[in-house]
């Protein structure tokens, strides 16, 4: 197979684009997709500073690299979750990548905020992944807000977004459908959320990392029973395999024709009004936000254990 652009031997075949690319032209394709996403959805303004949520996986490291290569002012935040045998090596790998690429990385330890994830797992009765996600979203937003970043960028790709859209459609969840998209505008203490990789698949991000020599973390979190929406991703991948381009068509058509119908949909009675959390001051649907409530649960659980 030959590269669609230059005619050299292709390294990557992309059926959804009816194309194959050599390593050099694939990088150009990848950057172009990100550039288009940023421009079409008003993700990043001139000279705006962007915080990238960096897990250490392929998507977040690729995102750091490509945004920097496109000339954006980018810094990373890695949230160290305090998980034994996992968080330290992931943080180390992330630090090494940023140091090698001259990128600024901040590391926030949830343990220093009373929220080491093993303690959270012991203290809460809900699935720990949901709580961990809530904690990470809180600190990514809070760090971005408190340090003057205009936007928070996450590494969500086309597979993540179509799987989430599919799940929201299966439930016909109007509030989630009304806010799903590549850009969520900032409001109050919520900074703008952006997903510059939303036009690229996991395969394309993985290929980009391989070709750019990005040494990302590959193991799954020891607490996860598999990534969320994995079953949905398989279904959509089957559709894509039979009819290449379906993922992009599904998502882009939703943005153009579906989402406007759900704009401003209510989250439910008493869920739409946000208050300042009595403890941390960040937006909350109740008097105390979910993260501060989890912190209280962790402290209470520890106190009970010590008393026994």
């Amino acid at each position: 197979m030959k590269c669609k652009r230059c005619g050299e031997l292709a390294a990557v075949k992309l059926p959804s684009h009816h194309a194959g690319f050599c390593p050099t032209c694939f990088e150009g394709f990848f950057k172009k997709q990100v550039e288009t996403a940023v421009r079409r959805h008003g993700m990043i303004g001139r000279d705006e500073k962007v915080l990238v949520a960096v897990s250490g996986g392929k998507d977040s490291l690729a995102l750091m690299r490509v945004l920097t290569d496109l000339g954006h002012v980018v810094e990373g935040l890695h949230v160290h979750l305090g998980i034994p045998d996992s968080s330290d090596p992931v943080a180390e790998r992330t630090r090494a990548f940023c140091a090698a690429n001259g990128l600024t990385l901040h590391v926030l330890h949830t343990a220093e905020h009373g929220l080491a994830v093993p303690d959270v797992k012991d203290a809460v009765r809900r699935p720990v992944c949901a709580v961990c996600g809530k904690i990470k979203r809180h600190y990514f937003n809070r760090f971005a807000y408190e340090n003057g970043f205009a936007a928070l960028a996450t590494g969500h790709n086309l597979d993540d977004e179509t799987a989430r859209l599919f799940a929201n459609v299966l439930r016909w969840d109007p509030a989630y459908l009304g806010t799903q998209g590549p850009t969520l505008p900032g409001e109050g203490k919520f900074v703008r959320k952006i997903k510059p990789l939303y036009r690229l698949t996991e395969f394309e991000t993985a290929a980009y990392c391989f070709l750019k020599g990005i040494d990302h973390w590959k193991a799954a979190c020891p607490y996860s029973g598999g990534a969320s929406f994995t079953g949905h991703k398989k279904l959509i991948a089957d559709l894509e395999d039979r009819s290449p381009g379906q993922k992009t068509a599904f998502y882009e058509a939703f943005l153009a024709q579906g989402r406007p119908h759900f704009a401003g949909a209510s989250r439910g009675e008493g869920q739409d009004t946000l208050y300042a959390c009595a403890q941390c001051g960040f937006p909350s649907s109740g008097e105390v936000c979910g993260v501060c409530r989890v912190r209280e649960q962790v402290a209470a659980h520890k106190a009970r254990r010590e008393a026994v």
């Binding site: 197979m1 390294a11 075949k13 392929k58 597979d159 598999g226 990534a227 991948a237 395999d241």
Partner: protein, 65 residues
């Protein structure tokens, strides 16, 4: 004989009769964009030939949380 390592798992699998990347993908029940197929530090498209003695790495691309 082609030697295939999937996501670093040991021992590797050997295939005596596979001749192309597409045949390998089909044998592993993988779609074209489910995994990176790597030989000697190079990414291979499905139409590429595999030769006896090749050492191939299959790197799955789906996030695992």
């Amino acid at each position: 004989m082609i030697t295939v390592t999937i996501d670093g798992k040991k021992p590797p699998i050997t295939y005596p009769k596979i001749k192309t990347v597409l045949q390998l993908l089909n044998n592993l029940h993988l779609r074209v964009n489910d995994a990176l197929i790597i030989r000697d530090g190079e990414l291979l498209t499905p139409d590429r030939h595999l030769w006896p003695g090749d050492q191939v790495t299959v790197r799955m691309v789906v996030s695992r949380g």
